[in-house]
């Protein structure tokens, strides 16, 4: 709670609502911290600076990340490195079809020596949670995790347990293998702020990977560079980034354009526009500005919005990817000047 007060104090005089001036520009200290995290991650995952930046944007925006990738591209390493960098607790859940919700949230155990029921925390009580292969578990377990993500707290037997802050979930799924999976319904995918695809490294970077892991994994050499409290402070900071009304209207228009599209069964929800709003702020802040430009919105649109779209059957099998629909919306809506 002390931490909360500190943060509130620091941000007390910040007026972040649209139209009025936000005084705080990112100070060197904060951006240096961010840069440190970024460098840390880059030393472990080579050649994926864009994806790393997206990950950090999601972290700052207080959202969660869906990593869709082929196996072996470094998803686990990335999540672990992030946890180490922010000196947070790292937990990993490997989803299997027989996993139960209690295995995620934790449950009460009877301690016979003391004669009471003890609550044993589940792996969800972590700062960085890697939910591996989230599409391999039953929908019941999926919804347990997703509920935790949205509420930031766990209620077990009437008792509320708060999750550690910051709580950041990195969920992974393999986009090509569907045998034996329970694909996340698009409505649940909506809860992820950003969808990132790492992809295979290119030739030079793959060579680097081979050589860098010759003696030992670079992850073992990682040191924490920021603390969890600083991350929380960063998260509050970005809320001070000024969002001009015109740019906010741009976001709203973009999202509304997808709602009118005949090829979509369901367009993008306000959760999507909110996620775009926050991530645009985070990006602007990362680039050293205290105001959001339409350019931020445009560069983030696909990563933030594409996975929220529910395609009509005809469009889905007609080979229209969701990405294309977002790109078309970007082309269709004039940009505020």
């Amino acid at each position: 709670m002390k931490l909360q007060e500190t943060i509130e104090q620091e941000t007390a005089d910040l007026a972040t609502q649209n139209g009025s001036r936000a005084p705080a520009a990112p100070t060197d200290e904060y951006s240096a911290n961010l840069q440190k995290i970024e460098d840390n991650l880059a030393s472990v995952i080579r050649g994926k600076s864009e994806s790393i930046r997206l990950l950090l944007i999601a972290l700052l925006a207080g959202g969660h990340v869906l990593l869709e990738d082929a196996p072996g591209t470094g998803k686990t390493t990335l999540a672990k490195s992030l946890a180490r960098s922010i000196d947070g607790i790292f937990r990993r859940i490997q989803f299997t079809p027989d996993l139960l919700p209690a295995d995620i949230t934790g449950s009460s155990f009877y301690n016979p020596s003391q004669g009471v029921f003890e609550f044993r925390e589940g792996p969800v009580f972590a700062n960085v949670l890697l939910a591996d292969e989230i599409n391999r578990t039953s929908p019941r377990t999926q919804s347990a995790l997703l509920e935790v993500m949205s509420e930031n707290q766990v209620t077990i037997e009437g008792r509320r347990q708060n999750l550690p802050q910051p709580f950041f979930v990195v969920a992974t799924q393999n986009p090509t293998e569907y045998h034996g999976t329970y694909p996340l319904p698009e409505a649940q995918l909506d809860r992820f702020a950003v969808r990132i695809t790492l992809g295979y490294p290119d030739l030079d970077h793959e060579l680097e990977i081979l050589y860098s892991q010759n003696d030992r994994h670079p992850f073992e050499a990682l040191q924490p560079v920021v603390s969890c409290e600083e991350v929380l402070r960063l998260q509050e900071r970005i809320k001070a980034v000024r969002f001009d009304k015109a740019v906010a209207e741009y976001i709203v228009r973009l999202v509304a354009a997808t709602r009118d599209d005949a090829r979509l069964r369901v367009g993008i929800s306000p959760r999507g526009s909110l996620a775009l709003y926050r991530t645009a702020q985070a990006r602007a802040w990362m680039l050293g500005r205290d105001y959001v430009l339409p350019e931020d919105v445009r560069t983030l649109a696909v990563a933030v919005l594409a996975h929220r779209i529910v395609l009509d059957t005809k469009a889905k099998y007609g080979g229209v990817p969701a990405q294309q629909i977002v790109e078309e919306a970007l082309e269709k809506i004039p940009v505020p000047r």
Binding site: R242, E249, R253, V292, L293, E295, R298, E331, K332, V335
Partner: protein, 663 residues
């Protein structure tokens, strides 16, 4: 494969002499040098196809009279070969299916081209070109097989390059193929060349109609039998556009009756060409157009008393020399001819104009027309005398005979043909019978009373199909008599009772058949119109199609560009900032860099980086954005911005090429 195809092209070139083949050969060779290909599902292929086929049709097509005959014209072979060659080149330019170097369609098409080129059975072909073509094709067929497996032993020995042992075997196969081709070609040459006559006639016969046609549904030789020869088929036979003076359309006449048959039969006639003058073709008057739709006998049907007959331009008509001037043509159906009718009537109420079809009989013919055969029962003569007792005028006699028949006999399509002479039995035993009997009886009776008469088969037109159009069907076949009256000429006499005439007796046509016929008419009308297009019109049509296709592609590409949404504006910045924005846009436009609405200025300038150096503009933009989206109320910043913009505007615009040159 290209070699084999070129041999085939050469063969076709020798036969047809068409320069188009040289063009196609160049196109084919182009596939070897140019790697670009059309996508497999490309729509451009259809346009190219249309162009190619259209040009071949325009240049070489001739209007086929009859499809079956046309197939045996040399021209047809050439056109087929050219079409196959064009399709071949088009397929060569398409992406082949994965894994094959040439797909089987090309090989098939080259075969067709070669065969088309072979239609002259020229010696040089068969001896030299055929073996060459076959050998090259067999060698090319290798290309369809997957490559031979590597020689494993060579690899294990660590050979640095692959030993193409596969080639040795294939070379053997090649020689084998060549020798087979040569021997096979020699054998084929001998047998086909020797029996080419028989082969051609067999093929021709196969294509022609096998059934020797009755002359349009009427027997080539009417014989009085149990049932009326004409089928109940509703097939359309004639279409008449215009008026008719008489609904009886005569086809053939017969003058000799022997044992229940009318002679002479269709095959035993002498036909000779008839000139336009004989047909009075230069007469003026309202024309009625008759189109014969089926039938290969070539008979033409028209009323007896037409004033003039005008055949289709360029076609010939023939006339029966011995009988009553029936006309036929050797042109295949559909054949159209025009007739001019005469209104001339008499107090008889029937047409009496003696046109090109009405020639007065000479002495021999006159005798034949009065001849009552010996087998007719004498009681028939008595009956005839009884019928016309007291009447001297031939027309009265004719009337009496006709009325007698109509009153005392009734019509039925089936009759029991007992023993004895049919007409006599019919008349004396008062049997019911069909129109052939009535007509025969009328002729015999009239001859008995001294009126020259002859038996006529033809059609009875009654079915109106639309304004001024009459349709005649197979089941409207009819028989009646014609009589010669001194002072009047030939007139039509129909003695069949009213319920026996086709307008009553013929079964009605179901509506679905009418609909189907209407559809067929539309199709053939379109085909005729298309076949009659001049070259210029055809070219224009193809250009039109091409233009439509281009238009559609353009529209599609426009649509995919996602039209900009308009109709709303964003919250406006403070007025001076808006002015600055407008000034900057004007600045961009002056330098030809006007930015589309759907991307930011910065992105646009990034794109145009290769064209113009815009560092100054980018600096301005950075500041502009900071003010516009960061602190729009800051007046000082706004003033600074306008100062910046002014200096920017003053800068001279130097495109990048010039800059590099200067440097």
């Amino acid at each position: 494969m290209i070699a084999a195809t070129l041999v085939a092209f050469y063969a076709l070139y020798l036969t047809s002499g068409s320069w188009l083949l040289l063009l196609l050969a160049v196109g084919l060779l182009g596939t070897y040098f140019v790697p670009a290909r059309l996508a497999r599902a490309s729509s451009a292929a259809w346009i190219i196809r249309l162009l190619a086929y259209g040009s071949i049709a325009t240049l070489y097509g001739s209007k086929p009279g009859n499809a079956a005959d046309w197939l045996f014209e040399a021209r047809a072979f050439n056109v087929i070969g050219l079409l196959a060659a064009a399709e071949l080149v088009l397929q060569a330019w398409r992406e082949p299916p994965p894994g094959a170097r040439y797909h089987a369609v090309i090989i098939l098409l080259s075969g067709i081209v070669f065969l088309a080129g072979c239609n002259t059975f020229d010696d040089s072909f068969v001896r030299y070109l055929t073996p060459l073509y076959i050998a090259l094709t067999i060698l090319a067929l290798r290309a369809l097989q997957p490559r031979a497996a590597l020689d494993k032993s060579a690899m294990n020995k660590g050979a640095t390059h692959r030993v193409p042992t596969g080639y040795k075997i294939h070379l053997m196969r090649g020689w084998l193929a060549l020798s087979l081709a040569v021997t096979g070609g020699a054998v084929m040459h001998y047998s086909v060349w020797t029996y080419r006559g028989e082969l051609m006639s067999w093929g021709a016969q196969f294509f022609r109609e096998r059934r020797l046609p009755q002359s349009v549904g009427m027997a080539s030789q009417p014989s009085l039998g149990s049932t009326f020869e004409a089928q109940d088929s509703p097939t359309r036979v004639l279409r008449i556009e215009g008026a008719l003076s008489d609904d009886h359309l005569r086809g053939m006449t017969f003058d000799t009756y022997i044992n229940g048959r009318w002679e002479p039969s269709f095959e035993n006639r002498n036909w000779r060409d008839v000139s336009l003058a004989e047909l009075h073709s230069d007469m003026r008057g309202p024309r009625t157009r008759v189109t014969r739709l089926v039938g290969r006998g070539g008979l033409l049907f028209m009323p007896l008393n037409v004033a003039a007959v005008i055949p289709t331009e360029g076609s010939e008509m023939m006339r029966d020399t011995t009988q009553g001037r029936t006309l036929r043509t050797s042109d295949p159906p559909p054949y159209a001819y025009e007739i001019i009718l005469s209104n001339q009537g008499s107090e008889l109420g029937i047409p009496i104009h003696q046109g090109p079809l009405c020639a007065p009989p000479d002495a021999v013919q006159h005798a034949r027309y009065l001849d009552v055969p010996a087998e007719i029962d004498s009681r028939v003569r008595a009956l005839a005398q009884r019928i016309v007792r007291g009447l001297d005028d031939p027309t009265d006699r004719i009337e009496a005979v006709a009325e007698y028949l109509m009153a005392h006999h009734s019509y039925s399509r089936r009759t029991r043909h007992g023993p004895g002479e049919p007409v006599s039995t019919f008349l004396l035993k008062k049997k019911t019978a069909h129109c052939e009997y009535f007509a025969s009886a009328a002729v015999i009776l009239l001859r008995c009373v001294g009126v020259p008469a002859r038996y006529v088969t033809g059609y009875y037109a009654h079915e109106r199909a639309g304004k001024n159009i009459t349709v005649v069907r197979q089941h409207d076949a009819h028989a009646w008599a014609e009589c010669f009256v001194d002072g009047v000429g030939w007139i039509t006499v129909d003695a069949t009772p009213a319920d026996g005439r086709p307008d009553e007796a013929a079964p009605p046509v179901p509506f679905w058949l009418r609909a189907w016929e209407w559809l067929q008419d539309q199709v053939s009308a379109t085909r005729d119109r298309l076949a009659n297009l001049t070259r210029g019109q055809l070219a224009l049509l193809m250009l039109g199609v091409l233009a439509l296709w281009a238009l559609e592609r353009w529209r599609l590409s426009r649509r995919q560009k996602a039209p900009l949404q308009t109709g709303f504006t964003y919250s406006a910045p403070p007025a001076d900032l808006a002015t600055l924005a407008r000034r900057f846009e004007a600045w961009l436009q002056q330098r030809g860099l006007s930015c589309p609405d759907n991307c930011t200025w910065q992105e646009h300038l990034e794109e145009k980086l290769s064209v113009v150096d815009s560092t100054a503009a980018k600096v301005f933009l950075k500041e502009y954005y900071a003010v516009r989206f960061g602190r729009p109320e800051d007046q000082r910043a706004v003033t600074q911005l306008s100062a910046m913009l002014e200096s920017l505007e003053k800068q001279e615009f130097v495109p990048r090429e010039h800059m590099e040159k200067n440097q």
